[in-house]
Each structure stands twice: as structure tokens, then as C-alpha cells.
């Protein structure tokens, strides 16, 4: 869907096509994402919503045979320009995955993994950063006494919040979330949703979700995808009450998907 250009947009895709080998996974996606808003991407499995998310921090580069056409402009700069280093892009566009994936290291080392790579070596700096990030992810009170313990000993919900804290420690501009609660129980899910609501004050969040209630609860804008196409992109309220496109309505009311 074409949208008016927003002054506070941070990243946008322009006529993006994406291929896995010969398979065309995304067709002509043009989409603006607003600063400090939560944008939800919904649609049935295989509709390309995760693919689009992974385009925004060049995670798709890691897949052999993947090819991108069009532009992804991050603060006006095309991140698919040959001059652009994907490592720099990923430093500024953080990502949280479907399955909690902490490293088999201590909680502290999980948080400080990224900052250490970019050259933060001072121990007190790292400790301060770990504390801030864990507090932002509302995990600090639960783990402040066990920072040296393996992250694998945490529960699934705690692991996922640790992954969020780990992404926040890089001080990204955008946080991408790929179905971050699909592997979690309802209580952990509620905690993460609260967290997202808190985080959007500081960060731009783009979240892929299978759960339409979740999209309705937490997002400001919602994009509906179907077979690689962006069918409708509108304010969440509008999408869920009075969508412009019939297909959207059918999906949301459960008539297909």
C-alpha cells in the first residue's frame, strides 16, 4: 500500500523484490517504518513477513542464493549499496529471534558480547552497560546475583528477555523481533508485551507475529502480507476494525490463513 511519507520515518523499503534462488519471496514491497512506533507484520505462514524483517538488517545475506532488488533506505542510506558494510547495519538494527538463543556463556558475557566487539573493553563500563540493558529488559532483579551463571540455566522467558537485553546493549536504533513470544508461555508473553510497550519510548520496533491479538494489543501500525505481497498497511486500529481491503478482513476474521 502506498502511504504518505512521514517526517519521522527511520527506515523504508522501496520497490523491494526478494528471491531465494528462483523463488520470488517478496514482490514490490514499499513500506515506511516510523520512529518510536511499534509496527506489526502479520499474515499466514510463508507470506514473506519474516523475510522482510530479515531484509532490514541484512540477515538474509547469510542465505546462499538470496537476491534483493530495490532499495532499503535506513536514514536515507541504501543498506544494500555495495559500499555499505552489513556488520555496521546489524550493529544499528538489532534483532530478537523466534526461539530464545542465548550463547552458551554466562549471562554477563551474553550481554557484553556485542559491545566488546566494538571495542568497549573497560570492565566498569561493561558492568554499567550490562546493568542498564538488563534493567531495560526488566530482567535485572531476577539475575543481578547470578550474572556469572550460564544463560542456559534461565527459563525460556528469561532467556528471551536476556536476548532482548543483549540486543539493547548495542544501543541499536531499530529493534526487529521475529515472533519473539511464539516459543513462550502466556505469562512470559505478557511480560515481553509489556516490555515492548516500554521500549517503544526509546526504540523503533518492528515485530513479526502470528498472533493477531498480539498485533492488535501492542502495535501502532500493522502490515498484512499475503504470498509475498503487502496487501494492506495501515494504523492498527483501522486494520482490525475497518480494513480497506477485503482480503485483510477475511484474514483477520479468520476466514482463511
Amino acid at each position: 500500500m502506498e502511504n504518505n511519507s512521514f517526517d519521522n520515518e527511520i527506515i523504508k523499503t522501496k520497490n523491494v523484490n526478494f528471491y531465494y534462488g528462483a523463488f520470488k519471496a517478496l514482490t514490490d514491497i514499499t513500506m515506511n517504518f516510523e520512529k518510536r512506533k511499534v509496527t506489526a507484520l502479520i499474515g499466514p505462514s510463508g507470506c514473506g513477513k519474516s523475510t522482510l524483517l530479515r531484509l532490514l538488517n541484512r540477515m538474509n545475506d547469510l542465505i546462499a542464493g538470496a537476491r534483493v532488488e530495490g532499495e532499503v533506505l535506513f536514514e536515507g542510506m541504501n543498506i544494500y549499496d555495495p559500499e555499505v558494510d552489513p556488520v555496521e547495519v546489524r550493529r544499528r538494527v538489532g534483532m530478537v529471534f523466534q526461539k530464545p538463543n542465548p550463547f552458551p556463556k554466562s549471562i554477563f558475557n551474553n550481554i557484553t558480547y556485542g559491545p566488546r566487539l566494538t571495542g568497549t573493553a573497560n570492565k566498569s563500563d561493561l558492568e554499567a552497560l550490562a546493568e542498564i540493558s538488563l534493567k531495560q529488559a526488566v530482567l535485572w532483579d531476577e539475575v543481578k546475583d547470578i550474572l556469572g551463571r550460564s544463560a542456559m540455566t534461565l527459563s525460556g522467558g528469561q532467556q528471551q528477555r536476556l536476548c532482548i537485553a543483549r540486543a539493547l546493549a548495542m544501543k541499536p536504533d531499530i529493534l526487529l523481533m521475529d515472533e519473539p513470544t511464539s516459543a513462550l508461555d502466556p505469562i512470559s508473553t505478557a511480560k515481553i508485551e509489556e516490555l515492548i510497550d516500554e521500549l517503544k519510548k526509546t526504540y523503533t520496533i518492528i515485530i513479526v507475529t502470528h498472533n493477531m491479538q498480539q498485533a492488535a494489543r501492542i502495535s501502532d501500525k500493522t502490515g498484512f502480507f499475503y504470498i509475498g505481497k503487502l496487501i494492506e498497511y495501515n494504523a492498527t486500529e483501522k486494520i482490525f476494525t475497518n480494513p480497506d481491503v477485503k482480503q485483510t478482513e477475511d484474514y483477520i476474521t479468520g476466514r482463511f490463513g
Binding site: 558494510d85 556488520v87 555496521e88 566487539l117 566494538t118 571495542g119
Partner: protein, 45 residues
């Protein structure tokens, strides 16, 4: 962190990567040469 130090930092990180990849490729080449040498010798004699 200023842009200058960030790019300097990146340069160092990529240098490390180049050195490591070099070492790794070298070991693969050595193995190939060792086997190649032995097979060549066996075939020639």
C-alpha cells in the same frame, strides 16, 4: 564514539578476519599439497 574511531575499529576487525582466513586457507593448501605430492610420487614410480 566518533565515526573515525568506528571505522578504524572496523578496519582492525577485518584485518584479523583476513589474517585468520589466510591461515585457514594456507592449512587447506598445505594438506592438498601433501596429499598431491604423495599421490604424484606413487604414480610416477
Amino acid at each position: 564514539m566518533t565515526g573515525q574511531t568506528v571505522s578504524g575499529n572496523m578496519k582492525r576487525r577485518y584485518l584479523k578476519q583476513h589474517l585468520f582466513f589466510g591461515a585457514v586457507r594456507l592449512s587447506a593448501v598445505i594438506l592438498t599439497l601433501a596429499l598431491g605430492g604423495i599421490l604424484f610420487y606413487i604414480l610416477v614410480n
